[in-house]
């Protein structure tokens, strides 16, 4: 009996598709993301990401607040790395106001953003480890992240929502004790990245789980408008810090890290390697920190920019974060729009999840490193 005949002889197995809600309360959706999964066995047939559980209407709120007040709102987009959020709004508003930050403020902005990138990537490394099932790297990553948060607390008083970068400069200057602490941290941190590599990145089980999983080709990444490590993991060399330098990034020597095939491991390893690059940048900033004031003169208490538009974008920890501000000459923006990288990175999931296994869904979802505060805004 041929195999075909054998199959024909068996009455068709009655199989059913299951609908599984992955989230909004699920250990590995990194916030309140809900993915409606239709599964057959363990294979995904259809995936519908459902967002909006954390919508706070920041863009609308900005229309009723002054420019100084809006900086506070920006802290809440990407709460894991809010320095770049502050920065991008301030850059856009400064364009509107025609103000230029002082050199020392620029250097401090770069330093804080890079430190925050390290903190954010550390969080990613830890939580991605948990997604894949290794609990211990999470605590190790948090141990180091805690030191960065301590540094932020020393300089601006907050550990998560900094409100540090202001229109025309930064809130306060750093102290020599802080710089000493930062140097201590950098010396401590550099060997720790190698440890993450040994413990997690080059762990054979971790590599088996993530290499070759969730492949996103360069063309797909570009056409879905991915940015940040998700784009670079696919091998596209694009980094706003190099492509469109701001705050004097052109003065610092660093490499744009790209992956090879666009697998989950590539995206993960991009971030790990970016931490090394960020350490390099911070060291360079520390070496040539210019003297001077940290706040530019001429920023009014209640700024009223001339009517017009401005767009600024920075390379935030999760990708290309942009802010489009429209002013009608009033005390608050007429319109603010945020190009949130997490939101755009999330969009590719609905196509990429189909055909994967449930374990791979977690691997891909984790590797895009979304923050729902930024997705829903």
């Amino acid at each position: 009996m041929t195999s075909e005949a054998a199959t024909a002889a068996i009455p068709a197995l009655r199989s059913d598709q299951l609908f599984v809600n992955l989230g909004p309360q699920h250990p590995s959706t990194h916030g309140v993301l809900r993915v409606g999964l239709t599964i057959e066995g363990e294979v995904i047939v259809k995936a519908v990401p459902d967002i909006g559980y954390l919508h706070r209407g920041t863009e609308k709120l900005a229309e009723a607040r002054g420019y100084h007040h809006c900086v506070v709102l920006t802290d809440r987009w990407d709460y894991v790395a809010s320095m770049p959020n502050n920065l991008v709004f301030c850059l856009a508003a400064e364009k509107l106001l025609g103000v230029k930050a002082t050199p020392r403020a620029d250097a401090l902005r770069v330093m804080m953003c890079e430190l925050n990138r390290i903190a954010s990537h550390l969080l990613f490394v830890g939580t991605y480890g948990i997604d894949i099932g290794a609990f211990t790297p999470f605590l190790y990553a948090f141990r180091e992240r805690e030191m960065i948060l301590d540094l932020f607390e020393m300089v601006c008083g907050a550990r998560l929502t900094y409100n540090y970068i202001r229109l025309g400069g930064v809130m306060v200057d750093v102290t020599p004790e802080w710089t000493a602490k930062l140097k201590e941290f950098l010396e401590y941190f550099k060997p720790k990245i190698d440890e993450y590599d040994q413990l997690l990145s080059y762990n054979p089980i971790f590599m088996a789980r993530t290499q070759g999983v969730g492949l996103i080709t360069a063309a797909e990444a570009v056409s879905w408008s991915l940015s940040g490590p998700n784009l670079r993991g696919s091998g596209v060399v694009y980094d706003a810090r190099k492509a469109d330098p701001y705050c004097g990034y052109e003065n610092y020597d660093f490499d744009v890290v790209v992956g090879k095939e666009g697998s989950c491991w590539d995206r993960y390893f991009c971030r790990v390697t970016e931490m090394r690059q960020s350490v390099r940048i911070v060291e360079q900033v520390l070496a040539k920190l210019p003297e001077g004031p940290v706040m530019a003169a001429g920023v009014a208490k209640i700024p009223k920019p001339a009517p017009g538009e401005a767009y600024a974008h920075v390379e935030a920890a999760r990708g290309d974060l942009g802010v489009h501000l429209v002013s009608d000459g009033g005390v608050s923006p007429f319109r603010m729009h945020v190009r949130a990288p997490s939101f755009l990175n999330l969009a590719i999931l609905q196509e990429k999840l189909v055909g994967m296994k449930i374990s791979d869904v977690i691997a891909l979802l984790g590797s895009t490193d979304i923050v729902l505060g930024e997705v829903d805004r």
């Binding site: 607040r65 002054g66 100084h68 007040h69 809006c70 506070v72 709102l73 802290d75 211990t136 190790y140 141990r143 301590d150 607390e153 020393m154 300089v155 601006c156 008083g157 907050a158 929502t161 409100n163 809130m171 306060v172 440890e195 040994q198 413990l199 997690l200 080059y202 762990n203 054979p204 089980i205 208490k301 209640i302």
Partner: protein, 170 residues
């Protein structure tokens, strides 16, 4: 065949390296602190719960304007002659709305600051009423809250330990 065995060896070696790292940290002292019995002192610039000092306040409303979330409210005191004086009649902060952004403190023109972030990070509230702290003439240092059920001002209990941390005020 050699390739297969070398791969097996490499995988095993990588796994063993990971185990050695975890063993290394197991033998090192742990880095956590025991929170309720050991408390961290925040750094000097820490932005904790807002505190208000009615004695120095000149009732200029700068903090009210600076606040991005409208959590501060105050009313000018009125002299017996019916004229406004540079004192507050009452001052309230809604911690339910507070962003801990330091804008009010920066805008305060008095020296020392009349409204400032203390180092208190243990701000816990049992009810929504407790979140709105009120300062009047004889109200204590950490303010009182207005209980809507009993319709009177009460001392917040059990959650503010501002006394335990040195205040930062400049």
């Amino acid at each position: 065949m050699i390739g297969y065995f070398s791969k097996v060896y490499k995988v095993a070696a990588a796994l063993v390296t990971g185990h050695l790292i975890t063993l290394k940290y197991m033998l090192k002292p742990s880095i956590t602190i025991h929170y309720p019995t050991e408390k961290l002192t925040p750094y000097e610039r820490f932005r904790g719960a807002l505190t208000f000092d009615a004695a120095t306040c000149i009732s200029c409303s700068m903090c009210v304007k600076a606040c991005p979330s409208n959590c501060i409210a105050l009313e000018n005191a009125v002299s017996e002659a019916g004229k406004k004086v540079a004192k507050v009649a009452w001052y309230s902060i809604d911690f339910g709305k507070c962003n801990f952004c330091r804008l009010c403190e920066e805008s305060c023109p008095t020296k020392p600051k009349s409204v400032w972030h203390s180092l208190d990070y243990e701000v816990v509230f049992a009810s929504r009423d407790e979140m709105v702290r009120c300062w009047k003439k004889d109200f204590p240092f950490i303010g009182k809250y207005f209980d809507r059920r009993t319709q009177d001002f009460k001392d917040p209990e059990g959650q503010v330990c501002i006394h335990e941390v040195p205040p930062r005020r400049s």
